[in-house]
C-alpha cells in the first residue's frame, strides 16, 4: 500500500515537472514581430504612426519603414497611435495578438490592419520567412576546437 502511494507521488512529481517544461516552452519561446508600414495591395501606407509592443516606448514609424521586435511568448499587446488626416486628432488603438507557437517570425502589416480592424488576425499578421542565410560554408567552418587546454584563457 505504502509503496504504491510513494510511486504515485513520484509519478505526480515527474508529471508536474514535465508540465512545467511544456509551460516554459510556450512562455519562453522567442518570436520576432515585424511591424510594417508598406503599402500592400489596396491599402496605402500611413504617413506616420507610433507603435509600442507590450508597453515599450513608442517608436516613430514613417512611410516604408519596417521595425522588428523580438518578443518572448505568444500573447502580445500592440498599441498604435496616429494622427487622423481629417480631424487632425490623435487616435490610438490597442489590441492583442497571439502568435502561433511554431512561427519564428511574423509580419504585422499596419496598413492592412488599419483598413479593417475587425478582420481576423490572419489577414494582417502573416508568416514571414527569414531572409538571413547562414554565412557561406568554408572548410574551416566545419572544424571545431576539441583541445581542452583551450579554455584556460577564456575562463
Amino acid at each position: 500500500m505504502k509503496v504504491t502511494r510513494k510511486l504515485f507521488i513520484r509519478l505526480g512529481a515527474v508529471l508536474v515537472i514535465i508540465i512545467l517544461g511544456v509551460v516554459m516552452f510556450f512562455v519562453g519561446k522567442q518570436h520576432t514581430i515585424l511591424i510594417d508600414n508598406f503599402s500592400s495591395g489596396d491599402y496605402r501606407a500611413l504617413d506616420e504612426f507610433w507603435v509600442s509592443v507590450d508597453g515599450s516606448d513608442y517608436l516613430d514609424m514613417s512611410r516604408m519603414m519596417r521595425e522588428q521586435f523580438v518578443v518572448m511568448g505568444q500573447k502580445h499587446n500592440i498599441s498604435l497611435q496616429w494622427e487622423d488626416e481629417a480631424s487632425g486628432q490623435m487616435l490610438a488603438v490597442s489590441f492583442n495578438i497571439s502568435i502561433p507557437l511554431n512561427e519564428d517570425m511574423m509580419l504585422l502589416s499596419v496598413p492592412t490592419f488599419m483598413a479593417d480592424m475587425n478582420a481576423p488576425q490572419s489577414t494582417w499578421l502573416t508568416h514571414f520567412e527569414s531572409q538571413a542565410t547562414p554565412s557561406s560554408s568554408s572548410p574551416e567552418d566545419n572544424t571545431v576546437v576539441l583541445d581542452d587546454t583551450a579554455s584556460f584563457s577564456s575562463f
Partner: protein
C-alpha cells in the same frame, strides 16, 4: 555440449587476456581487414603504425619502473617530459648539431630528470596511497610552471625565441637542423610503401634491454619486492622509500629520453601546453598492453604501444575512407580513458 566446452575453455582465456584488450585487438584487426575496401593502403598504414610506435614507445616504457616499485601509474610523466624539453632546448642553444645534439640533449636532460625525479619521489613517499591523483596534479602544475619559465629563461638562439620580441621561446621549435630524424633515418628500411624507422626501434630495444637487465639486478629485484609487498621487503632489509625514489627517478629520466626520441621523429619541440596531455596516452597504452596498476612488463609496453598507435593511425584513414568522417579523436578519448577506468576499477588491484 560442444558450445559448453568451447565456453569453458574460452572464458579463462579471455579473462587472462582481458576483455577490453580482446575487443581492441579485434577492432584493430578489423580495421586492417577493411582498410583495402576503404581505399587505404595497408603498407602505408603499417608504416605509420611503426613510426608512431617508435615515437611513443620510450614514453610508455617510462611507466614501467614506477609501477614496479608500487608507485602506481606515472600520471606525472609531464615532469619527465619537462626535463627532456630542458635538455633539448639547451642542446640547441649550445649549438650542437646532428647526432651529437641528440646525445647532448639526453645528457643535458639527465641532471634535471634526476633532481626533479628525486624531489617528486620524496613527495610521493609522503603521500603513499594517493599517488596517482597527486602525480597527475604535479604533472599539470609543473607544466604550467614551465610555461612561465619558457617565457623568462634567458635563451637567445634565433631558431628558438620569438623573432620580434627577442625573448621567450616559441611554442613549436623545428629540430630539422639539429637532431630531426637522426634515429628514424638510421638503417631506415623502405620497401614500396612500407617504411620502418629501424634506428628508433633499435634505440627503444636498447633502452628496454637496459630496463629489463636492471630489473634483474639486485637493486631491480629489491625494487620489485618493495612494490609487491612493502612489509615483507622492509623485513628483509630493503629500504622501500629509497627504492621508490630510485624508480621515480628512473621513470622521470625515461620520460625525458622519451620526449627527445618523440621530437626527433615528430620534427618539432612542443613547449608550453604541449606536454599537458601526454601522460594519458602513455598510461593507457601500457594498460592496453596488459599491465595493471601494480604490474607492468616490457612485453606490455610493446604490445600496448603497437595496439594503441595502430588504432590511432588506422581509424582516421579507414573511417574517412568509409563514411567521410573522422571519428578518430572520439575513439581515442573513449579507448584511452576507458582503458584507464577499467584498470582502476578492477577488484584484485584494489586490495594490494
Amino acid at each position: 555440449m560442444d558450445l559448453n566446452t568451447v565456453k569453458a575453455k574460452a572464458v579463462p582465456m579471455i579473462k587472462s587476456f582481458g576483455l577490453p584488450r580482446l575487443i581492441i585487438t579485434g577492432f584493430l584487426l578489423l580495421m586492417f581487414v577493411i582498410a583495402p575496401f576503404a581505399g587505404v593502403n595497408v603498407a602505408s598504414g603499417l608504416s605509420n603504425m611503426f613510426t608512431r610506435f617508435g615515437m611513443n614507445a620510450v614514453l610508455v616504457l617510462a611507466m614501467v619502473p614506477m609501477v614496479h616499485s608500487g608507485c602506481g601509474l606515472n600520471f606525472g610523466l609531464p615532469l619527465g617530459i619537462i626535463s627532456g624539453l630542458l635538455g633539448a632546448t639547451m642542446s640547441i642553444e649550445f649549438g650542437y648539431a646532428g647526432f651529437t645534439s641528440f646525445l647532448m640533449a639526453i645528457v643535458l636532460a639527465t641532471p634535471f630528470a634526476v633532481i626533479l625525479g628525486a624531489g617528486y619521489g620524496v613527495l610521493l613517499n609522503k603521500v603513499k596511497g594517493g599517488e596517482m591523483m597527486i602525480a597527475t596534479y604535479v604533472g599539470f602544475s609543473s607544466v604550467a610552471f614551465m610555461c612561465i619559465m619558457w617565457l623568462l629563461l634567458p635563451y637567445d638562439s634565433p631558431t628558438m625565441v620569438w623573432g620580434y620580441a627577442g625573448t621567450g621561446l616559441r611554442t613549436t621549435i623545428s629540430v630539422a637542423d639539429y637532431y630531426g630524424g637522426v634515429l628514424d633515418n638510421f638503417l631506415r628500411i623502405e620497401i614500396g610503401h612500407l617504411v620502418i624507422p629501424t634506428g628508433t626501434i633499435l634505440f627503444f630495444a636498447l633502452l628496454s634491454l637496459l630496463v629489463w637487465l636492471f630489473l634483474r639486478t639486485k637493486t631491480g629485484t629489491a625494487m620489485t619486492a618493495a612494490g609487491s609487498n612493502p612489509v615483507f621487503a622492509t623485513a628483509s632489509g630493503v629500504n622501500v622509500d629509497r627504492m621508490r625514489i630510485l624508480s621515480v627517478v628512473l621513470s622521470t629520466w625515461l620520460g625525458a629520453v622519451g620526449i627527445i626520441v618523440y621530437e626527433q621523429s615528430f620534427g618539432f619541440i612542443q613547449l608550453y601546453m604541449g606536454p599537458f596531455n601526454m601522460a594519458m596516452p602513455a598510461v593507457s597504452a601500457v594498460l592496453l598492453g596488459g599491465a595493471s596498476v601494480n604490474k607492468a612488463s616490457i612485453a606490455n609496453v610493446v604490445i600496448g604501444t603497437l595496439l594503441f598507435q595502430g588504432i590511432l593511425t588506422m581509424t582516421p584513414s579507414v573511417t574517412n575512407g568509409l563514411i567521410q568522417t573522422d571519428v578518430s579523436e572520439v575513439i581515442r578519448i573513449i579507448v584511452s580513458n576507458g582503458m584507464i577506468l577499467y584498470a582502476l576499477t578492477r577488484k584484485q588491484e584494489v586490495t594490494r
